[in-house]
């Protein structure tokens, strides 16, 4: 295994000793097994219960009013928007891995890109719930859509929330297309190996008649490249637009030009942390250790150090600019963040996002599965708090001291937050069980047996199929 010092970013995937057949076996047996491992059932049970809590809490909120949450004045945005930004951020790692790393020929991405993409889609779904239900009249979110109507109502395009609608929906569409298209060859493999008619039919439909011909591979790769090129700016744009919700407002602590790059860096940081959090148990329970190797985890940890430092730099820069601008309201907001009533949240954020990830400078930590998992989870916590700090500290103490307040969450707030993880994990566990968790065709292209060059990719599919029969 390569050490950190001789790591060449342009080299091929980490070398697991896999033949094509082994790769196919490894991935398809999860779907083929009559029963998933016990751990899957336990996890699925937990996730499903949390999902129930999610729907229960949202039902409660829709029925009684959003006052069931602790959201109040002046903190008119609180948990739901924190959760929204948090989940949108999580999604970014998936797109980064599948699009940007693809364009940069970072071939090691192949082992993790599929479930990173799945994670993106599920995260965007979790995020997508919140703008709809957080509004006061959750039965009217379509007022924000440019739908011609008899009321002659039209959205107000100066509002960044309107920009959000388009940014997030574009992002969701492209992500789903990208994810689905990447899965087509693997669906074909599943179809070919299915033993029951139902499965064959189901996978056959979603495989859309994939036969693995040269022409199909040619079209596939062109399309993949184009989608990657389309998705790449989205990685940067979506979170930039989300950050505009805050940056274009005139609230001290929000009205900051650093927000777009800061939000994107934070999103990738948090997204990778989530990939790691998912990858560690997945490789453990589904026997994918040979495909998702320690080396993959280590590389992701390195990305986290890099983006974590960017985030830390942004935190520092905000303070510097608040002081340098000479704006007393701005200056107060940042001192208040660090030492005011929400200091506990601020220092949780700093510890989880800036201090603890520094442990990744040590190779021992970086290559330790448990350390990776724990630190990844802590970064998730830190990133949630980052959004909490931005939203709640700024809103609760703005210009006029007489309108200052304090936000206290209710039980329903925690149920919705916890429940959104239920939605995420339920979808993710279903994905693990029924869909190709690893992009077999892509992994094969970069496995020793497949050589290093992309044009041979199609052999992977054919050979694997032959080898099995």
């Amino acid at each position: 295994m390569a050490t950190a010092s001789d790591f060449n970013p342009f080299q091929s995937a980490p070398k697991g000793e896999n033949t094509f057949a082994q790769i196919t076996d490894n991935v398809t047996r999860i779907m083929e097994a009559p029963r998933p491992p016990r751990a899957w059932y336990i996890a699925f049970g937990v996730a499903l219960s949390m999902l129930l809590v999610f729907f229960g809490s949202l039902g409660w909120v829709v029925w009684n009013g959003i006052g069931s949450w602790g959201t109040t004045m002046p903190a008119a945005w609180a948990f739901p928007i924190v959760n929204f930004v948090f989940w949108i951020g999580i999604g970014h790692a998936g797109t980064l891995i599948s699009a940007i790393l693809f364009l940069l020929r970072q071939n090691w991405r192949t082992a993790i890109n599929r479930f990173a993409e799945a994670m993106t889609i599920f995260a965007v779904m979790c995020a997508g719930v919140f703008p709809g239900v957080h509004i006061g009249r959750p039965w009217l979110p379509y007022y924000m859509m440019p739908i011609p109507n008899q009321m002659d109502m039209w959205p107000q395009f100066r509002s960044p929330l309107e920009w959000d609608i388009f940014a997030v929906s574009t992002y969701a569409t492209v992500s789903i297309l990208f994810w689905y298209m990447g899965m087509i060859p693997d669906f074909a493999t599943f179809r070919d190996r299915s033993t029951s008619t139902a499965k064959r039919l189901a996978y056959g439909i979603v495989a859309m008649g994939w036969r693995g011909s040269s022409r199909q591979w040619h079209r596939y790769e062109r399309a993949y490249l184009i989608l990657a090129a389309i998705a790449t700016p989205l990685v940067l744009s979506v979170h930039s637009v989300v950050s505009f919700d805050f940056a274009t407002a005139q609230l001290p602590g929000w009205h900051t030009t650093i927000f777009p790059p800061y939000f994107v860096a934070g999103a990738i940081f948090g997204g990778f942390a989530m990939v790691v959090t998912l990858a560690v148990p997945a490789r453990q329970f589904f026997g994918l250790k040979r495909i998702i190797t320690i080396r993959h985890l280590e590389l992701m940890n390195k990305v986290m150090i890099a983006t974590g430092l960017m985030v830390g730099y942004s935190y520092g820069m905000e303070f510097f600019i608040a002081w340098y601008s000479g704006n007393s309201y701005e200056g107060f907001t940042f001192v208040n963040r660090a030492f005011g009533q929400y200091a506990w949240a601020y220092w949780t954020m700093i510890s989880c996002n800036v201090i603890i990830p520094q442990l990744f400078w040590f190779k021992k930590v970086r290559t330790n599965v448990w350390a990776t998992l724990v630190i990844g989870m802590l970064i998730n916590v830190g990133m949630w708090f980052e959004r909490f700090v931005i939203i709640c500290t700024s809103l609760t103490r703005d210009f006029l001291p007489a309108s200052w307040g304090y936000f206290i969450p209710t039980k329903i707030d925690f149920m919705t937050l916890g429940g959104s993880f239920g939605l995420f994990f339920t979808l993710f566990l279903l994905f693990c069980r029924y869909l190709p968790m690893v992009a077999m065709s892509e992994v094969k292209a970069f496995s020793p047996a497949g050589g290093h060059a992309r044009p041979h990719l199609h052999h992977g599919h054919d050979d694997a199929a032959h080898a099995h029969h």
């Binding site: 006052g67 004045m73 509004i135 109502m153 959205p155 210009f399 006029l400």
Partner: protein, 1039 residues
Amino acid sequence: MNKKLRVVSERSETPRTTDTISAKPTYWRSLAELDQTPAFLDAVEREFAEPLEQIPPDSPGRRRFMQVMGASFSMAGLAGCRWHEDKILPMTRRPEGVIPGTTSRYATAMELNGVAHGIHATSYDGRPIKVDGNPLHPDSLGAASTYHQGSVLGVYDPDRSDTVSSKGGAGREVSTFETFDKAAKEQFKKLRASRGEGLRILSERTSSPTLLALKDRWLTAFPLSKWVTFESLGSNGRAAGTALAFGQPHRVHYSFAEAKVIVSLDADFVAPSFPSGLANARGVTKGRTPDRAEMNRLYVIESAFSSTGAISDHRLALRAEQIKAVAAFLDAEISAKANALPEQGAGQPKPAGEFLNDAKVQKFLGAVAKDLLANIGKSIVVAGLHQPAEVHALVERINVLLGNTGRTVFYTADSADSVTSDVAELKALTDEMAAGRVTTLLVLGGNPAYDAPSDVDFAGALGKVTFSVRLGLYEDETSQDATWHVPAAHYLESWGDARAYDGTISIVQPLIAPIFGGRSALELLARLLGEEPKGLELVSAQHKGLLGDDRRFRKAVHDGIIEGTAFERVSPKLTPLAPFKLSERETSGTVGNGQLEVCFAACPKLYDGRYANNAWLQELPEPFSKLAWDNAAVFSVATAKALSVADGDVLTVTLGGKSVELPCIIVPGHADGSVRLALGYGRTHAGRVGGKLGTDVTPVGGNVTRLRTSAAPFFTAGLSITNHGPGKRLACMQDVYTMDVIGSEGIAERLPELIREAPIEKFREEPHFAKHMVHQPHELNLWVDPVSYEGHKWGMAIDLNKCTGCSACITACQAENNIPSVGQENVARGREMLWLRVDRYFRGDPNDPEVRFQPLPCQQCENAPCEQVCPVGATMHSHEGLNDMVYNRCIGTRYCSNNCPYKVRHFNYLNFNQEVIGATPYTPSDDPKMKLKAMVFNPEVTVRSRGVMEKCTFCVQRIQNAKIPAKNAHRAIEDGEIKTACQETCPTDAIIFGDLNDKKSRVASLQKLDRAYQLLGELNNRPRVHYLARITNPNKELA
């Protein structure tokens, strides 16, 4: 079901004869019809022969009923569901003088503590919906207080008593007026025979000439009966004090506008609970306009922060009991130097004592005395009503010596004010009742079972009275033990009369017939006397002599006052005063736990507890602590530190062995060693808002009357406290819990920019100081201005020099704009909906701070940050410069609030009107009592649903109401024609609204004043509200 079917039957009104049916139809719907079978004909016949509602649904006729209905459906050709139907009664012939859907205003008056306040009540289609001041009335001058503004909600209070009740075996039994009248007739027949032996009447203080005449007739008819007056907050200090100083009791009236130096000795003379308080407020602030004239100088020495203290130039916080020594000190100084005549007697010996030796106190009092002496004939010294007679005597002596009589201070000799205290009268009555000497008791209003001091067991003694009648708006604490409870009519439901503090008579006219059939005190007494029991007749007969013909009576009713009925002003002669003894306590310095002074004060919201069931007033924040829905023990910063108590701690306060549990609130500027407790809380039989035993509505706040004694009902010493640590989150609307260091520093840093102020010297030197306080760079707009304001351009100016923080504007706004009350829990969370807030800031040393108020409506920014961020265009700029809220369009993203630098937007987090209007439009409230609550709504303002944003509209409905008639008459709107609700009620004229395009308008000229500034104008929002900087007039010696 039954109801729906009835509708069908009513539709077929044309009686059809059997003949027409039996004739073979050309067109038929069923074979039965074609064949005209007997069963069919029978069914058809029955349908029209007997009304359906006469068939009981469960009788054997039910089957028949269904058959008939089946037939009628087929006959009528009707099928399918129908909406729930309500019938309306169109006024096809309009009664003369009534235009449906327009409002009209009627003059009437509301009496509080024996003083009338003239009001204009707005009536919409026969129901009063709003109350404002009567500009002709000497105590109102057009202004109204929180009490008046809130009183209209009481008309539609579903908890008001709606039936006569009697004491039964187990609690109250519902009865009727007839039964009561019969019982009372019998009882009073006996009493007439015994000349009123054992008959007592307990009344609230009243100035009503008709009632007082009835009282005389009553005492003639029942010579052995006794008439007792008790008012929980009624004090006799002034009457007794003027009696000491002048030989007989006098009323004191002021002309604050003429005074140059004003000294208040624990007197909140601008408060609505002070006689002529609102007129005083107008006067004193009129003398504080720095733009044209010289300013008066106001010194306030007081125990707790008051509105008067808030507008003062110099303030000294002393315990209430120390005021006597202060008065003696001032008298000594002034008597020595003002050349008192020999017959006026010598001044008090100069008092000495620990607190008087304090350098700061000496300097302060020395400066006050010097300033008074330098302004002979142009000063006023005024004492708090709760202060003892000695203080009042000294204060009047000082006023006379300073030559103020006839210039700034006026006296009227009035025998109505009793020299003996109300509490003493009540105590004597209770003793009689307990001894069984009272057989019949009439309790006219009031609530003595709740607010009698702890050593007067009125409730217990009431049980011993064999025949007691309680006339009350609510079946409250006092009604529980009365043999009869009779529902009273609200003042907006009854005829009456009352006198202003200066004696001017107002006619009280009803706006609506008694909703629950209640009786006024006049009607009840007249009936018991066997007289004509009609209010109007009683009142018009009373004033026949004065007014003569009916036309003049009608004019008096129309105007709301009878001109020329004020008491005659007199110039009483001073009688010498013997030196008063000062106890050690009255001159002592600091006091510790166990020796604390306690002051029982009128609540600025609930008064003495009579408004405890008024949600508007319960939700109003107390001006200084900003606490709503609760009363608290109020401490100064130093006392709280010495006792180690903090904001929100739960305390047991004990006085004389009795204790009450209350939360702690620290108000900087409170007198050290003094604890203030607001009366009016802890009601056990108030209703669904204030608390009701036996239901899940727990009493709001703690009942501190339990600590009061008849010996010292207003303040006394010896209070001890025990701290139980932090309690529940208080419903404070500002500064929830103690501010941390960072927050306090931040406030201190930005406060000078928010509340701009300067001493008058600086203002004269540098008139534009307020404009230059913050650098306002020329900034570019990202967007083109949406409108050019070719027609009107509405704007507002708020004078910080005039605002006393009284908060009447808040309740006026709530009444005008249908703002819901959200309850204690939601206020504690910060979800209050009040469109207008009055921000309160303390300034300077926490031990000796000044307070600043800043009313904050929506600033109606020209470059509004809220408008730019709404994704659905629910808040838009009108062509006249208002930020309009389109409730229908609002989906509730709340982004507008986040981007509002003033945070004046309020969001319906829950359906705060649910119990009144129902959960959804499809599930309206069926509770008739809840529907009654909806009657107070202003029909011109949308009642907002859950999930929408709302905010101040500059009372857009009032703007439209002025625009439409002006346009119809082809004339321009006059300046001052449109008044916003907050402006109209403001006692000090601090809020001015108008058209900025009209260069001659008041608001335009005020906005052009040197001291006008924009709040946070540097953000380039271009707010339409301009504040006028506060200018103080400090004494150089005390600077």
